[in-house]
Symmetry: C2
């Protein structure tokens, strides 16, 4: 077996990845991975993005795949390099994002015996991947090329079909790792650029169910990155049902959408008075605790549209699962949707007054919802920003797309994910990241993409010097350990981070400055940080004031 | 089951960890982990170190365990937090470092059904841990307290015994997560602070083997962090054998130690002329490629002292394994050791002349070897620094301890490991990290320990703006992809990183400034970066000149 054998087969493999729709690969440096990396970089239909940290590379590729709906690839060398992929691989599994994980390995004779940079990579990601293949090493033959073309086709189809997710192919590679002669011309795959194996999805959509005799229903629309459920708006308008629309669903728009269900349902009396007969759930279950509590307590038929088998039902209240949106049925109760819409408008006004014009965390969420161009994508970090966006993002006819790593809800890799989204955007489709200081500190190395990859990203940083969300929880009272081990203040001056990574940076203290800085950042190429200093305890008070104002307004209405 | 049940059992668990010798725990923020974190922090015999990034936390704890030889603990919340531990867990497995991994989890009723921040944590680390336990949730009882005390004892003993390594305990925790009443006084464990279960190691050492009739042997001493093989010096002197001593063995000292085997054995003729009849291998196989090649080609009996079952023998040349150092045997050939020692001295002089007084990467390794106080610990990063230290570190009677993450040879987590080592040091025992720019960029977030944990660490940064080691490999000729995807230059000005994390920083351009800056850094509390700018291509030339000079000197001698 020669390097030529390896490179011939890898060239065919990469050709098939491209034919199957893979368009981006995130690389990381290493030696053992040389044949894989060179073959990927030399495939002209793949855009190769270099990352020093494999954890960042994997979250970057996750962002690419979330933004495009198509699998992206990651490639790393042997050893703990591959272990650094695990957080993003798990997020891809939980969020059902297709990802092609390619790891270089030492061959069997160099494993577990003191050869350098060698770990047990077989089934390294355990239950988090849909498919694992130990690729082996091979002499080129016509038969073997067919096999590896099939392997690439199958990897992409497996990542996409059914419940999407990551697949892992492990490539043992032997020295020599570079070619000593030019590679012969490519033998080629199927004619006309077709993939080696194509797959026909089931003919048409699954049959639509009928909901009969129901007059009062609600649709709960949660995270769905490919926008599959944007059609719920039309369905809801036909049914006369409200859509409680998480911004992550893409459905917070149109005449039936309810934006402020989180605030509304914090008023238990209002929630009890507006109990539906049926709940239709599409996408992931939204984060809102008031919504989750309300759903768990309803005496209603709950139906999940769940073609990917996500089983988003911790309360165990769903009694029926569907593969597709049901067709309309039953006569609408005109007062029902009207009552929800009227209440939502009451909340909008109460929130607007309560949030006020100070530059608080709720205000930033409102502003982004109102000001971001329709063509923008907003990436939202866990834990507080995604909640603030859910609570405060307004209803508008043309909302920007909102993405978030809400499979496992980690704060890790958020910056890198946002850069991955940015890698898929045109100059008009600006990418904006809303992130807190702890998540930024966690993935600070992700900012290296700003220096190395020339991508456009506007980072809106809410800096309250610690984990603001924990102040909402009972643990905040455990004062012997809370600050140091839970809130974890760090005192970082992110202006230095911006200087390190070549980002613009501006700290803004009032609403006017924020608007000016945000608009300027959106109009400027490259990466920039618009930093909003806030205060953790005051932030809890601002939220509680807002909820109290909503409750008072609903009582008065 | 109440929070009191949970906290009573966790208090007993933490009490047992401390009784069994665990002294340090690295925490990370989260909500689900609250009972675990509070119980650990409240155990007065544990020092709790807070980290924002779980990957850093795990490498920090690895550093603590490497430096002390005792297990350290890590604790994180549910979700991808736990996935970020994997790189350090694998390094601990490969390097045989005891580590107690404590992960909080959601209970079974909140798994895989849309509850937040929940992933499949069962056997998350696969084959990298020695023991996995799903701890479950329990009402307190006398019997259950005995069980959990046994569990803690057993976790520590399992991590330490036989082949040391990590163990993983997964704790499903239910709300409420904080106590609503003070905890009753502790029931207590065994009298006199004894652990619940103690374990008697096998009586005495395993019987020592006898090597009969051998006159020409060499001892190869590789990485062994607990200094178990420092006794090889006396054995070697008695046998009249040279010790080819990796600095990571602690054995590069004394009358039989050979420091410059890497340079010596690059001269194949010299190596062939000095082939031994027997090779005794202790510790891990050193990194040196010339040594590995020489060992693989020898027609000699090769014996591995390998009580931990590490099987460090990729060439498959070991024919005998021992659990303990053999006793001396046979009459020494006085010329044999003399020839090695004389050659080593020739190399010292040739290297000193070839390395010269310019501030190159080899010169920095020489300087650290000569100047670091005996009480210091030097942590060395992969990939070039560990090789430079192996090649250039001088022989001296009182060398500093040298540690390196050479289980899986990753560059990840190196900064955090060094801070973990620093956490175990007294003010006199300064910790120094020798690291390249790519490894520093990879674990840049590890510098947050400088700001938050008040530890003393001197970082000597070799900054050649990319992965210098790759220039030694054939891939350097693949110019279409080499710079962007393999060398990965980043242009980082680490002065900004120092400002971000509150480290001192000095860039030095000549040897005198380096010495002054190093001495100043060693005398100053806190963290500092002494940055040495170098150049990747010039670095290859400097190394090749040094090896050529050694070859010429050996020919002339």
């Amino acid at each position: 077996m020669t390097a030529t054998d390896t490179y011939l087969l890898l060239r065919a493999f990469c050709d098939e990845l491209a034919r199957a729709g893979v368009a981006h690969v995130a690389t990381s440096p290493g030696s053992r991975s040389t044949p894989l990396v060179l073959s990927l970089v030399r495939e002209p239909r793949l855009r190769a993005w270099s990352h020093v940290d494999e954890r960042s590379a994997a979250f970057f590729a996750l962002g690419v795949a979330k933004a495009t709906g198509l699998p992206s690839a990651i490639v790393c060398t042997s050893g703990t390099a591959a272990a650094n992929y695990l957080p993003a691989v798990i997020e891809a599994h939980e969020a059902r994002v297709p990802l092609i994980v390619l790891t270089a390995d030492r061959p069997p004779e160099l494993r577990d015996n003191g050869a350098g940079q060698t770990i047990d990579q077989l089934k390294l990601y355990g239950s988090a991947v849909k498919w694992f293949v130990e690729v082996g090493s091979h002499e080129w033959s016509r038969e073997r090329e067919r096999w590896i073309r099939t392997l690439a086709s199958r990897a992409v189809l497996t990542a996409l079909e059914g419940r999407p997710g990551p697949v892992h192919l492990n490539f043992p590679l032997r020295e020599p790792l570079v070619l000593d002669a030019p590679l012969p011309a490519a033998a080629g795959g199927r004619p006309d650029g077709a993939p080696w194996v194509s797959s026909t999805p089931p003919a048409g959509n699954p049959p639509a169910a009928t909901l009969s005799g129901t007059r009062r229903g609600v649709i709960v629309a949660g995270r769905e990155e490919r926008g599959a459920w944007r059609g719920v708006g039309a369905l809801a308008e036909g049914l006369g049902w409200p859509v409680l629309a998480d911004p992550l669903s893409g459905a917070r728009r149109g005449a039936a959408a309810i934006a402020h269900y989180d605030a509304l349902l914090r008023d238990e009396a209002w929630g009890a008075a507006h109990a539906p007969e049926v709940v239709l759930r599409v996408g992931d279950l939204p984060t809102s605790k008031s919504l989750r509590t309300w759903l768990a307590g309803l005496d209603a038929e709950q139906i999940a549209v769940d073609p990917e088998g996500a089983w988003q039902d911790p309360a165990g209240v769903v009694s029926r699962r569907l593969d597709n949106l049901p067709v309309r049925a039953g006569a609408a109760d005109p007062d029902w949707l009207y009552a929800w819409r009227a209440a939502d408008r009451v909340v909008v006004e109460a929130l607007e007054a309560a949030v006020g014009a100070d530059l608080t965390e709720p205000r930033v969420a409102v502003e982004l919802g109102a000001r971001l161009p329709s063509a923008a994508t907003l990436v939202v970090a866990s834990s507080m920003p995604v909640r603030d966006v859910e609570t405060f993002f307004p209803l508008r006819p043309d909302p920007p797309r909102v993405l978030s790593n809400r499979g496992a809800n980690g704060i890790d890799g958020t910056v890198s994910t946002a850069f991955g989204v940015a890698a898929t955007a045109t100059p008009e489709e600006r990418t904006v990241l809303l992130i807190g200081d702890v998540a930024l500190a966690h993935d600070i190395g992700g900012l290296l993409a700003a220096r190395r990859l020339s991508l456009d990203l506007t980072i809106v940083l809410l800096n309250n010097d610690g984990g603001g969300i924990f102040h909402f929880l009972p643990v905040a009272g455990e004062t012997d350990a809370f600050e140091q081990h839970v809130a974890t203040p760090h005192g970082l001056d992110f202006a230095h981070a911006a200087a390190l990574y070549g980002c613009d940076h501006e700290r803004v203290e009032d609403l006017g400055s924020f608007r000016t800085a945000l608009d300027a950042a959106l109009a400027t190429p490259g990466a920039s940080i618009v930093e909003v200093p806030t205060e953790r305890v005051a932030n809890v008070e601002a939220h509680r004031r807002a909820w109290e104002a909503v409750r008072a307004a609903l009582s008065a209405a």
